[in-house]
Symmetry: C2
Subunit: 256 residues, 2 copies
């Protein structure tokens, strides 16, 4: 069995989180896994297609209750939803905006509220806004399928859900990485230029993940510098620092 020798950096979200280790993408998950090697375990808790309604039961099982003293601590938790909640009716993924807001608050409160069974005051929560939708690219992708699918997301709808994420972050006093706003500014507010950052009008390409990673690391450096990878030492010492004549002196960091 795997002992909880390292604390955790948990990435909770939908397909844009799940796909962050994909080949050729240099995605967010992969890059975090690399820079946090020997420091924190970066756990993929991304669920393709999921909205916040379905995410809550999953979170109740992925995040340990405070009574579970054996579980590794989650030092950083990113919550990245909205891309699917913002689907338009009649998509089964659609979650009304007001319900999306209450679900996001609920997820944050599960961790932040002292009365929650999942209360974890040392977990640093970072919300992430969904990327802007390029409906030109998205429509072309969906129409090329067999059978063709009607456009399922609108630019302005996802914008509203992104704004809601920022509002929840402000209200709950947690950090936020505004992927929507950063990408929108980067293309000079020209929807047709978003394909610089998106594969299919919805999911990020390598350039898109690069922006997300950079913004996330910047946010950690500003808001939670103590868990920036540069400020965490490796759990086990670099090999040159081992006491070579008596390795046990430096290699036991917990009782066995």
């Amino acid at each position: 069995m795997a002992s909880s020798v390292q604390d955790v950096f948990m990435l909770f979200g939908d397909s844009i989180t799940q796909g962050g280790w994909g080949p050729g993408l240099n995605g967010m998950g992969q890059r975090l896994s690399h820079v946090y090697a020997r420091k924190l375990d970066v756990l993929n808790r991304g669920y393709s297609g999921y909205n916040t309604e379905w995410a809550i039961p999953v979170f109740e099982q992925c995040f340990a209750k405070r009574t579970d003293g054996h579980a590794p601590k989650v030092q950083v938790l990113t919550i990245w939803f909205g891309a699917n909640d913002a689907c338009i009716k009649p998509s089964p993924q659609h979650v009304p905006l007001s319900k999306f807001v209450s679900n996001m608050k609920h997820l944050v409160q599960m961790v932040k509220s002292p009365t929650s069974a999942y209360y974890s005051p040392t977990t640093r929560i970072i919300l992430i806004t969904p990327p802007p939708v390029d409906t030109y690219q998205r429509r072309a992708d969906l129409e090329s399928r067999n059978p063709p699918i009607a456009l399922d997301r609108l630019f302005a709808t996802t914008e509203a859900y992104a704004q809601a994420v920022k509002d929840v972050a402000a209200e709950e006093n947690v950090a936020v990485v505004d992927v929507w706003g950063t990408l929108w500014e980067a293309v000079g507010k020209e929807e047709k230029l978003l394909n610089k950052f998106l594969i299919d009008g919805l999911h990020l390409n390598e350039a898109g993940y690069q922006v997300v990673y950079d913004e996330l690391i910047k946010t950690i450096a500003q808001m939670h510098p103590e868990v920036h990878y540069d400020n965490l030492g490796p759990i086990f010492p670099p090999w040159a620092q081992i006491d070579w004549d008596a390795p046990s002196n430096s290699l036991y960091i917990k009782a066995v």
Copy 2:
């Protein structure tokens, strides 16, 4: 805290394991993280510069004792050492061949022996042989440093340690991925051609990791097909299989 909702694929080794999520490499760790997403957590337990002598105390802390009922199960465990043990004297990383053999057996027996505190009969152990050393490339790399460093590894020495890994695997009846032999065959047994697969005569480049990943997946398919990623379902259902009218029916896979 992070609940043990997924079992584990643990990669235990030295820098060649640790670096498997590196940028632009499409390394073994990254690719396993991708294909096992929502199935197994791929944990990086790679320790740059470590030999088996230093690895044993680390393993005693990374691998849970059988009495720790809360820890997630390790379904697959790769053990990949030898590249540093095979350093030549007076390197502090050098471990004599006979000691390397007994250390490797010890690591395997910690998991396989019914009398071991770490006994885990359901863990599938896969040993991996170190890559062949390109001493031309390695020497050039070391001589280019400031101050220059003398050649620290010999081709034939690492070959002997790779053979020892194969011998231990046979004796202990566990699977082995012969990276040494596969790369050596791939270059037509021409040491100077190994730079096709190595960055610096020692560490793998993208082509090298591609070979390791392919061989590892082939080994899993042949020896332990039940844990091949194609034969494991996601822990939580694909979104299209959720009971949309009553999501709780399909989303609770354990008691909360």
